[in-house]
């Protein structure tokens, strides 16, 4: 029983880290533009699928990962330039629909490029499980955890210690005020989309050896990342990370002890419960409506 619990926790934290990375992307974009980017999951999918294709084309894995991430960052910037900027200041419903449209569009491109087959990456450092007591850990899980921790620390430092990070935060608090103190809001917006796309792509490449990837793989990952960001209180990067880990662990425990078929239902029921009792997430700002 205890061994099982430990095993489920390890799995949950691995999956949760991926949700956390995707959620972090949501938070970054939301902070800069008040937009929830429903195409975030497609960044994850594009990262994984591009890396797989490049590897198959003969590139070594590290290079394939770097090139794939770069390509997805460019996709993110194009999305910002051609779909978000023209609709700046539109209603919440409008931006939700635009990004859903973008997600479907990107999925369509992926399907044309790579068909409907499932593909996967080889694990970065072999697939000999590491034994810890009676539980086992795949080396790939360590990669996922390590990169996530590193990125979270970097994001934290970026927002706390660098001028650019502080400028980005300023945009999220009040865009007009940020503009008045000389911050180029447009550049910040592009930065946020680029970073967010990059995070998504990295998450996709990291998880590709564990789960199979296909043109549709981004849908659930994106939704879970969105859930992570919402549970944590949208626009709070560390909240998104905590939300992602919580969601991953809960899902894994639910799959292990209750039913694996219902794991998605358990995850989303948890999100619903959080929202019913804390309508702005666990660590969200309490806001008042301005008339």
């Amino acid at each position: 029983m205890l061994d099982q619990l430990f095993q489920f926790l390890v799995t949950g934290i691995t999956v949760g880290s991926i949700y956390a990375l995707v959620g972090l992307g949501f938070a970054l974009i939301y902070n800069a533009s008040d937009v929830v980017n429903f195409a975030q999951g497609e960044f994850v999918m594009l990262g994984a699928m591009t890396a797989i294709a490049l590897l198959a084309a003969g590139l070594p894995l590290p290079l394939a990962a770097i090139v794939a991430t770069t390509i997805v960052v460019i996709v993110g910037l194009l999305l910002e330039r051609f779909a978000i900027e023209p609709a700046l200041g539109a209603s919440v419903v409008a931006t939700i629909i635009i990004t859903i449209g973008a997600a479907i569009f990107l999925r369509g491109i992926a399907m044309l490029l790579w068909g409907k087959d499932f593909r996967s990456l080889p694990p970065f450092s072999g697939d000999t499980p590491i034994r810890i007591g009676s539980a086992t850990l795949l080396p790939q899980s360590l990669w996922v955890l390590g990169v996530t921790v590193a990125l979270v620390v970097l994001v934290r430092l970026f927002f706390d210690r660098t001028l650019v990070g502080k400028a980005l935060l300023a945009c999220s608090f009040n865009r007009a005020a940020a503009k008045l103190v000389g911050i180029n809001v447009r550049v910040m917006l592009r930065l946020a989309y680029g970073l967010s796309a990059g995070f998504g792509a990295l998450a996709g490449i990291l998880v590709a050896p564990i789960t199979f990837s296909s043109y549709e793989a981004g849908v659930m990952l994106g939704l879970k990342g969105f859930s992570a960001a919402i549970v944590g209180g949208i626009g709070n990067p560390m909240g998104a990370v905590t939300g992602g880990l919580l969601l991953g662990v809960l899902e894994s425990l639910g799959a292990g002890f209750i039913s694996s078929g219902y794991k998605d239902a358990i995850a989303f029921l948890f999100v619903l419960m959080v929202l019913f009792f804390e309508p702005t997430g666990l660590f969200g700002h309490k806001t008042a409506e301005r008339v």
Partner: protein, 314 residues
Amino acid sequence: MRLAGFYVFAVAIILLPILFQDNYFVTVVGISAGLHVILAVGLNLLMGYAGQISLGHAAFFGMGAYASGILTTRYAWPAPLAMFAGLTVVGLIAWLLARPILRLHGHYLAMATLGFGIVVHVIMVQATHWTGGPDGLSGIPTLDLFGWPVDSDLRWYAVVAAAMLLAIWLSLNLIDSRIGRALRAVHGSEFAAQMLGIDTGRTKTQVFVVSALFAAFAGSLFAHQQGFVSPDSFSLMVSVELVTMVVLGGMASTFGAACGAIALTLLHAGLVVFEDYEMLIHGALLMAVMIFMPQGLFVGLDQAVRRLLRRSGN
């Protein structure tokens, strides 16, 4: 005069099968378009008029369909009774959900409705004992209206057309009623509406329940017409498509939603040939409409025509 548009539309719907007899696009695609119109008009009440987004509307559609399917096949209930039971259950669930869900705003509301839709979909797939699981539920009997079996495409066209016209008529009247005015006030500013003495919580709950009932009604008709239901027909993608219909036609316009539903259904039927490009076109369309014509195609065209008329009048 207020319902002039409605009468014109009704006459067109009645004339279609007479002008184009045995036409695939009228009877077969028409039935599907009619069901979509009911769904879109119902969703528009919530989205267009009350300004509350729902990314889980396929759940109510599915619950209506499964209620009819399960009760008629597993318990041999007569179809009308099953339909009524389904509507009651869906109405009750929507009423229970409305308060906590509609307390949320913007993205939080989008998340909650989306989550609800996924939970319901997972149950449809997993509760095999009741729903037949991923394989679905087959052998659902067709409707029998007082000894008149609805057993041909043309008869189904008539039933769905009647149901659709009823839905549009209800929606048009609801919007012009006290509730409709309260709804539009809520859309403008919930806070200001409260100041004017509108019980915004109650108004939103009412419209949420009505919207869910429209969807469940369409679902029940869908189950009897197809004779088969499976979870695929009620996935997240379907919820997104319903939102697309409302947005495509134009939010806060009953005929806008109806036109959006018909346009998207025809588009899908026409794009079957280009199956691989369907997603690409669907996505591009959503983005383009929202960026360049945020008020929707129908409403946008309507305004353009009015502007032209005014100019030629001068």
